[in-house]
């Protein structure tokens, strides 16, 4: 075969969709969308939450059926719709955000689970399973003990297991939905290497991520969706993060430094040589009224542990905490809440909110004692309080009684913030508030932060994304290995310098 022919074949799309329309209960989720993936390419599917990314993936994998008129061409065949069975048989594999793995089973069984599925019951061939699993891991250039139960491995390795599983299914195209959302930087790098390996071996990868830096690093082309419609397809070469944001949201975001001078304002929190052996050491700082202090650093730098100590959930071994000048010593987070400290946890979905409960119940969870009249819960006060916060934070909800799980990530985050604001805190600690939240909603959250700061609330913002700290805080504390490494003033330092220091 000549080289020219070879290239010609490689340019023909592996997957091509045209005129895809999907409607849910009167709402057009996808409007005349088209989408194309070349064999072996890494393609990024970008868009805000609710832009139709997941719906599109579900059309391709046969979970949803598009309206008549749709054309799906895949591997030389034309379909009007897919079914989960045909999609899988044809090598279309999805790695779901929740991975859909079996923690109690061995790694081998997780990877090769496909071999025990099927209508006809038969005997399990453990030997073949182990072989298939080992071969798939080898293709990814990874070694794992395939006999150990999956639960023994951390999330990053589980991700690899999920990818290896897709390979056992003879994948020709793999969809990855937010694969790096819960990975550290080095784990993410490792995952991106694996994606490159996959792509080099001829498997196309469609990457969905909110982290735009990654998107630019890994993919060669980019399809952007907004409000269920196609915005366009772009080469990633020459693309910038702010340009992608603009395409996704249709809005320009002014990224200006919000830092202001704080000297002379009353001190809310004063931490002096706070230490918890093995986790953090000798941490001293103050936060003033209306000030936003960002604490940044790599995962494992001790940021979250420090926050937990301030919130009474971790007992410091030495050092002191003073709140509005008075020394405090919390024996539990209940004490901390009473003293006026609020903490919005890192893992909002699992720790901060109770998913099946209503928006109203979630919102008042930390402030029930303020809703009591004569020892009984006042439904009227509860309704008013909820309505007030919903309005102040511009949360988009249907009814207060709806389950919190019906809200988008950004709106859930707002409810989680409102829950703590309803306790009337003096100090608000926000731990990685934008994990899993898309670009537009991020801007909304930081607008709220700025507004709260302007109202006089002292805020500690913990984040591992330096730009977030840089643009939204008055001062930036860099932590490394449990110690204070640097102080930065965003007004006097360039973003690149802080990034260089933190990511070094």
């Amino acid at each position: 075969m000549t080289e020219a022919l070879d290239r010609g074949a490689a340019q023909r799309p592996l997957l091509s969709l045209r005129d895809i329309n999907v409607t849910f209960g009167g709402v057009r989720a996808l409007k005349n969308v088209s989408f194309e993936v070349l064999p072996g390419e890494v393609h990024c599917l970008a868009g805000e939450n609710g832009s139709g990314k997941s719906t599109l993936i579900k059309v391709i994998t046969g979970v949803y059926r598009p309206e008549p008129g749709a054309v799906i061409e895949y591997g030389g065949e034309t379909y009007t719709h897919m079914s989960p069975v045909t999609a899988q048989a044809a090598g279309i594999q999805v790695i779901w955000q929740d991975l859909a793995l079996f923690p109690e089973m061995s790694v081998a069984e997780n990877i090769a689970f496909q071999t025990v599925v099927g209508r006809r019951p038969r005997l399990v061939d453990y030997g073949r399973m182990r072989e298939a699993a080992t071969a798939a891991l080898k293709r990814l250039g990874v070694t794992l003990d395939v006999d150990r139960p999956l639960k023994d491995f951390p999330i990053a390795q589980r991700q690899i297991v999920a990818i290896a599983r897709a390979l056992v299914g003879e994948a020709r195209i793999v969809f990855m939905d937010e694969p790096t959302a819960s990975l550290t930087q080095s784990e993410t790098d490792c995952l991106l290497d694996i994606v490159r390996t996959l792509s080099a071996s001829g498997v196309a990868v469609v990457f969905v991520s909110h982290r735009l830096a990654e998107v630019l690093e890994i993919s060669s082309r980019l399809t952007v969706l907004r409000d269920g419609a196609l915005v366009g397809v772009y080469p990633t070469e020459g693309m910038t993060q702010s340009r992608i944001t603009e395409l996704m949201t249709g809005k320009m975001f002014d990224q200006t430094v919000r830092a202001r001078p704080m000297e002379g304002r009353p001190v809310v929190l004063e931490v002096d040589r706070l230490t918890r052996a093995g986790l953090f050491e000798d941490i001293s700082f103050t936060v003033r009224q209306g000030e936003t202090l960002a604490i940044t650093g790599l995962l494992g730098a001790g940021r979250t542990e420090l926050a937990l100590a301030l919130f009474g959930m971790l007992r410091p071994t030495s050092g002191s905490i003073r709140l509005e000048g008075r020394p405090v010593r919390f024996s539990s987070n209940r004490d901390a809440i009473r003293a006026g400290i609020a903490y919005l946890s890192e893992d909002r979905l699992s720790l901060g909110l109770i998913q099946p409960q209503s928006i109203a119940d979630n919102l008042v969870m930390a402030s029930y004692d303020r809703l009591l009249t004569g020892g009984l819960l006042s439904e009227r006060r509860k309704r008013d309080l909820v309505a007030d916060w919903i309005r102040r934070l511009a949360v988009k909800i249907g009814r207060q009684e709806d389950a919190i799980s019906t809200l988008s990530g950004g709106n859930q985050q707002r409810v989680a913030i409102a829950k703590w604001l309803a306790t009337n805190p003096k100090l608000l600690i926000l731990d990685s508030p934008t994990v899993g939240v898309d670009v537009g909603a991020r801007a909304g959250i930081f607008d709220i932060v700025a507004k709260l700061a302007a109202e006089g609330l002292a805020i500690i913002l913990i984040t591992d994304e330096v730009p977030e700290a840089y643009f939204n805080a008055d001062r930036v504390l860099h932590m490394a290995n449990g110690r204070m490494a640097n102080w930065f003033d965003p007004r006097a330092t360039a973003l690149a310098d802080i990034e260089a220091a933190v990511y070094a």
């Binding site: 989960p84 069975v85 899988q88 779901w96 929740d98 991975l99 859909a100 793995l101 079996f102 923690p103 109690e104 089973m105 069984e109 689970f113 496909q114 025990v116 599925v117 099927g118 019951p121 038969r122 005997l123 399990v124 006999d147 150990r148 139960p149 639960k151 023994d152 491995f153 951390p154 999330i155 990053a156 819960s182 550290t184 995962l299 494992g300 890192e346 893992d347």
Partner: protein, 333 residues
Amino acid sequence: MPKALHSHGTEIVLLAVIVVLSLGLGLSTERFLTLGNAFDLLNISAVNIIFAVGLLVVLIAGGIDISFAVAASVVQYVTAVILGSIGGGEWISGFLIAASIGILLGVFNAFLIHTFKIISIVATIATFNIYFGLLMFFTRGVSIYNLPDWLTTRVILFEHQTADGSWIEITLPVLVMVVCVIATSFLIGRTTIGRQLYAFGDNPEGARRFGIDIGAMQYIAFGWLGLMAGIGGLVQAHYAQEVVPNALYGRELDVLAAVVLGGARLGGGKGTVIGCVLGVLLISITQNGLNLLGVSPYAFKMIVGAIILVAIALSNSRLERLFGTARSQGARS
């Protein structure tokens, strides 16, 4: 060795506890560490082990069943009535009838759970009351003593008198128990259905995305427990040589405790047949030992309850952690 600890931590801990307990009882009583007593223990435990391996399958699939013991009583009664009306029958027809009725009662639970989306503990508490209520209503609490001769005659497959004068006996209940144990172990360990049951119990949504038939899983799990309940019911009637309507009432909790003791998890995806058998044996040995020690039978329940608490607290968390099988702590997981 570490590998065995990783994959069979609970079983090894249980076995160790059984060995220590047995040595202790062997030293403090004359009769405990004799072959005769060991085989007695097997004979006594046979029915509970049959129930336990059935319940194990339901627990693995993420369900729970409170009704199987009274279902077994229903099976005993209905089987006795049918056998009487067909003129006596023999072992084969007896097992076929008992198994069929057992499966029917088990499948009814699956039907309620799958069709009406009732969680299994609620569905089976309901059927527990329905089955037991119907049984007491129709029997008026009266026992059946005139069972067919073949059913009440002890079947001794092997016997041998040891030097100390005690008898080693392998009886039919033990044989049936061994067959049930092997069959269950084959089902859950060697067939694709078994692995699908584990997967379904471990992560139902993940299993659904693989195209596993969720309804089939429920019917298989509860059907299998029904089958075991039916067989166990008939064997118990044979062992007791009578059918007493409330003889098995309350047995469900003893068996459930033994199965959980054996490492099965309420919530699904975990559990082994060996662990299950060891769990039942540990409880039987404790009761047997207390008996031989001359402890008041009124104290049994209390002591067995305490042992279950201690053993589960140790085997499921602490000891496994000591052996290094604790979950690795992912940074954010």
